[in-house]
Symmetry: C2
Subunit: 101 residues, 2 copies
């Protein structure tokens, strides 16, 4: 579990996931959209892949990456242990977040 959090505890990896959340992407598309170097993107993708957050398939010269749901489900499960601590505050928080946007 700590490994999953460590993987997400990095801003550029989170940005990669945000992009993949919309649709699967090739490495080059991520490089263009995130404005970071190709080796940096590849290294982050490797970390994400080894943690199970993404998977890749080969299409000609490209590697297409997409999100895998399991680690998210595991995080949800872990959070459930703490849910009783906050669900009495959840309504207030959501009102707050809704007011933000």
């Amino acid at each position: 579990m700590v490994g999953a959090f460590a993987v997400l505890g990095e801003a550029n990896r989170l940005r990669i996931l945000e992009h993949l959340r919309g649709s699967e992407c090739s490495v080059g598309e991520l490089v263009d959209r995130l404005g970071m170097s190709q080796p940096a993107v590849s290294k982050h993708l490797r970390v994400l892949r080894e943690a199970g957050f993404v998977s890749s398939r080969i299409a000609a010269q490209q590697r297409i990456y997409r999100i895998e749901p399991e680690p998210f489900a595991e995080m949800e499960h872990w959070l459930a242990q703490y849910r009783r601590l906050w669900d009495r505050h959840l309504d207030a928080l959501e009102r707050h977040l809704d007011n933000q946007e």
Copy 2:
């Protein structure tokens, strides 16, 4: 959001939260139960406190720490953006299992 994940991406901090999940604790109790040095515990508690995961109150010479729910609620909120990904996954799995039968 990335800050919260980075805070949880450390094994000993996660262990501290596991202990505080049961009941609030003084620093000394955490030192005894986790078998780590007092400065190390205090440093982790500072990180957790500045990220909002815990708060402390003073009782005589002791500082009693307890979990605060808001960061957990924010993580839940963040995860909800990805929930549909594994909802679809579970739906697909169920259809798969149904077809097996």
